[in-house]
Symmetry: C2
Subunit: 183 residues, 2 copies
């Protein structure tokens, strides 16, 4: 059985700052004919499960325009141009900008967020030995954030209420439960 | 502190079969000025953690055009028009089409996959008491799938090798570990 879909034509729809969009005509394998694939191309992102010495989890509250609602999430940010070779530095930068912490980072997982149509890949790091930076890098000037340090149980209350409903944050919380014995 | 971003203008970029794209001009809260938000709108999807009586996990191998590579994932599919009120039926349909199984379904979680720019929401179900259907609904005619039934340890080998690198599948495997005692 063959799986590969060969592109016969690509139509570029949009070139943005955050993502590009294209529609590909593809030749299906095994003589199945043609199909169209609507695609979103994204530079990737990093996310950080930051655990304080008191075993609390750093959570950022922010407004998400895509869902027109508030969201509670672990700190995260897009990779910027030229950062592909140093995702860990990008994770350290996002952690400092969003939370004012420096920390020791350990790579946990990488995953595609919406593999059916989008190539966004998130690299997830664990941050421990957190230390407050005296003069942290400033937040991005179009971000309004509120910080919380929550126990695992408080986080799971936010999952139950629907305030946490973000894939990367769920992955981080389940990692915490599996490796720090959340419950 | 105020969080909401008010839309002052929406530019529609693309209307697709799988997603739409728009760029919003927004008024930031707290007098921070203006910003642009690039947005992808998606109808949502369902995914199924299907566990056999032998405690194996049903995994689908398929080609994913967005990453130009093969991917091993739990069964999943987009919601079709008019299915918003019956996501569990959509999950049962996807399970039958992709695997030939009927099962008892239990809702586990819902989560946004790429909340920074996209409103795709996945509802994840647990399927147990699996039964092979004598004449299952056919697969979509543009999908080429290969089925596996794998132990949790075999799935984690695929995570380690990079063959599983899909957020919804990671969430399902972590759920399995936490609730079925993966290890």
């Amino acid at each position: 059985m063959d799986f590969e879909e060969k592109t016969t034509r690509r139509k570029e729809i949009f070139k943005g700052h955050i993502f590009d969009v294209a529609v590909d005509d593809v030749e299906l394998p095994n003589g199945l004919g043609q199909a169209k694939r609507e695609l979103v191309f994204h530079k990737g992102a990093v996310a950080v499960l930051a655990v304080t010495p008191e075993r609390k989890i750093v959570i950022v509250k922010q407004y998400r325009k895509a869902i027109e609602d508030l969201s509670y999430e672990i700190p995260a940010g897009k990779l910027e141009v030229g950062e592909n070779g140093s995702e860990m530095e990008a994770a350290a930068r996002e952690l400092e900008e969003e939370t004012g912490y420096r920390a020791d980072l350990t790579f946990l997982y990488e995953f595609y967020t919406a593999i059916g149509f989008c190539n966004e890949k998130i690299k997830l790091y664990l941050a421990d030995n957190l230390e407050k930076v005296p003069n942290p890098r400033p937040q991005d000037d179009d971000e309004v954030l509120e910080l919380f340090e929550l126990t695992y149980e408080e986080c799971m209350d936010l999952v139950a209420s629907g305030a946490i409903r973000d894939a990367k944050t769920l992955i981080a919380l389940q990692y915490f439960a599996l490796h720090f014995g959340g419950k």
